[in-house]
Symmetry: C2
Subunit: 356 residues, 2 copies
């Protein structure tokens, strides 16, 4: 078992990573079971794949366990679904001692975590990520939230889970394109924070079929745990995790949710931010070429023809905005992300043309 | 100026108390103004009384200031009003640097604070309480939240303000029954935590017309600030602030919101809890008599005839429930509240009959 600590005083918790971990969860939570309610929040496909077995195992170990079903995909994060979750929790008689287990990808983790953050002013929850993206990114760090019709993640809270259980075996049930979408976030960690890891990945991506997910997940979780421990609420360092995300969010919003996967959008976003870093003289040509090579080893969909000017409003809407100046994450060399205020709209537009 | 510190590490902040403080707010916030948006959340009556003047003064001092209006009363804390606030904030272009000023009583403070807690995962806010109840209780401690149709305060978060500005002069605009409703919360601090303060109040309440609100507010804020600094999230000590509140919430829910004021319900709730403490041998007869005398000096409405058995479901719903056992706050002597698990339904029913 790999155990990684997230050090946050009273909000400290562990990330446990091991193939086959799902079966061990009842034993691992046993000491925390004082007869309270345990609530699995997940979507119906995942419940059939893993959730109902987990629930049976918990019940056999003496846990009072119930579940709430969400729709698949981004709809799970709507205001209406959130409202339904908390209503159902009241109906079930959930109290402040109830523990939530979020079993799913980023969507489930975000809305389930937000329900935990806000139900009766906050109850305990655990993350059990089922996608590669969630295992290396969204399940870690306590960002929870929901969408409004006006935009994604407009409502939320940073609220830490009591633990994160990562079972890389769950990835076997994912379609290959879902796995690939997660690879770009893995690559991101190398690009922004760890040059050696980047070079390892550059090599390993030549043979994606034999990619060692478990070891990559452990590596990424270590990096992210350190960053969160230093800057929980994204005042400075944590921002670098948003590398490539301003353009990624704009691409997702412009193309319409569901037309491009988050990980794919991040790949293009990283290319754009890398290109800008190069133009500003922060990233060497050779480094940008290496980064580009690595990203192009990911099986990315071709972007459809876009009117790049129409992307700009989405970029301005991005919540990393500060007093109207964009805080842009750039690279000052490979493996070293920095926060810059020098990125003009013109430069972003040019970088988007470079992508298209 | 009286300055009281709430010590909570990074979430530390000050409570400033002074007659005429409202006018000084622009000067006091000046160092925090970096050109971001400042948003006054209040209801229309208070905006006319104080809010628009505050906004003008802020604007004159170079603040970018806007406002959002809420309905008067508990409706302000509905899910729908909350949804409207955050939508309006998106429309106004509020970003993570936006600061909210909650100008109002508990309702405004709760929903405004909750908007701050959840908008883009949390922004800064300040409390400017306008009722006695808010000045001594609800504006302090970071409890924020909204109601669901299923019950009060079911959704919320503990999220500290960056500062609390208390101007006792604002009380002059309140109708006397509002002021009186706040007196029971003041009395509560003496009863649960400070016997000397209780005896001072017992005397002062004989001449309510000349009651020294400023000095009582300072005293209560000192007690509450100490309690919050020791137990922010109500794991133990902070619970004693709920003295009388289980029955109070049940009375409010049973009689229907608006039929009894929160402070009035708390007065009856304290009588009930005191009576139970006496029955369990924790509170001397003479102490209960003193406490009763003090409470009856408050101008309380007579309770209508009630079917006390019908109150019980509301008491069980109370969120201070733990695995089905009620955590009841009792008195082990005047000025010394404790948490008890020994309170049976039968005893509560009997105490309710004593009230009626």
């Amino acid at each position: 078992m790999n155990t990684i600590q997230v050090k946050l005083g009273k909000r400290s918790h562990s990330i446990l990573i091991k193939q086959g971990l799902l079966k061990k969860i009842p034993a691992l939570l046993n000491a925390k079971n004082k007869g309270q309610k345990w609530l699995i929040i997940s979507h119906y496909k995942l419940l059939e794949l893993f959730g109902f077995t987990l629930m049976e195992n918990l019940k056999k170990s003496g846990f009072k366990c119930e579940y709430i079903t969400l729709p698949v995909g981004e709809t799970a994060k709507s205001f209406i679904e959130y409202r339904r979750i908390v209503s159902q929790m009241v109906e079930m008689g959930c109290d402040r001692q109830t523990n939530i287990l979020c079993l799913g990808g980023g969507d489930v983790g975000d809305v389930g975590g937000y329900a935990a953050a806000t139900y009766k002013r906050g109850i305990n929850y655990y993350q059990i990520p089922t996608t590669l993206l969630a295992m290396v990114d969204s399940a870690l760090g306590g960002k929870t939230g929901i969408n409004l019709s006006e935009g994604k993640n407009l409502i939320g809270h940073v609220y830490q889970p009591r633990g994160i259980f990562i079972d890389p075996d769950l990835l076997n049930s994912l379609p290959p394109e879902e796995l690939n979408a997660g690879l770009s976030e893995i690559l991101k960690y190398g690009i922004i924070r760890d040059q050696d890891f980047f070079h390892t990945l550059l090599e390993e991506l030549d043979t994606i079929d034999s990619f060692n997910y478990t070891s990559a997940i452990i590596h990424c979780c270590r990096i992210k745990a350190k960053i969160i421990s230093r800057d929980e609420t994204e005042l400075d360092l944590r921002r670098i995790l948003n590398f490539g995300h301003t353009v990624a969010h704009a691409l997702e919003a412009y193309l319409g949710y569901g037309r491009i996967r988050h990980g794919e959008a991040v790949a293009y976003g990283m290319l754009s931010a890398g290109w800008i870093s190069k133009k500003l003289g922060l990233l060497k040509d050779s480094e940008f070429t290496l980064m580009s090579q690595a990203i192009h080893k990911l099986p990315l969909p071709k972007l459809p023809p876009m009117d790049t000017a129409l992307l700009l409003p989405f970029i301005k809407m991005d919540k990393k905005n500060k007093h109207g100046n964009l805080n842009y994450i750039l690279l000052k060399g490979l493996g070293n992300a920095v926060i810059s205020k020098d990125v003009t709209e013109e430069l972003i537009l040019k970088s988007l043309k470079f992508l298209a």
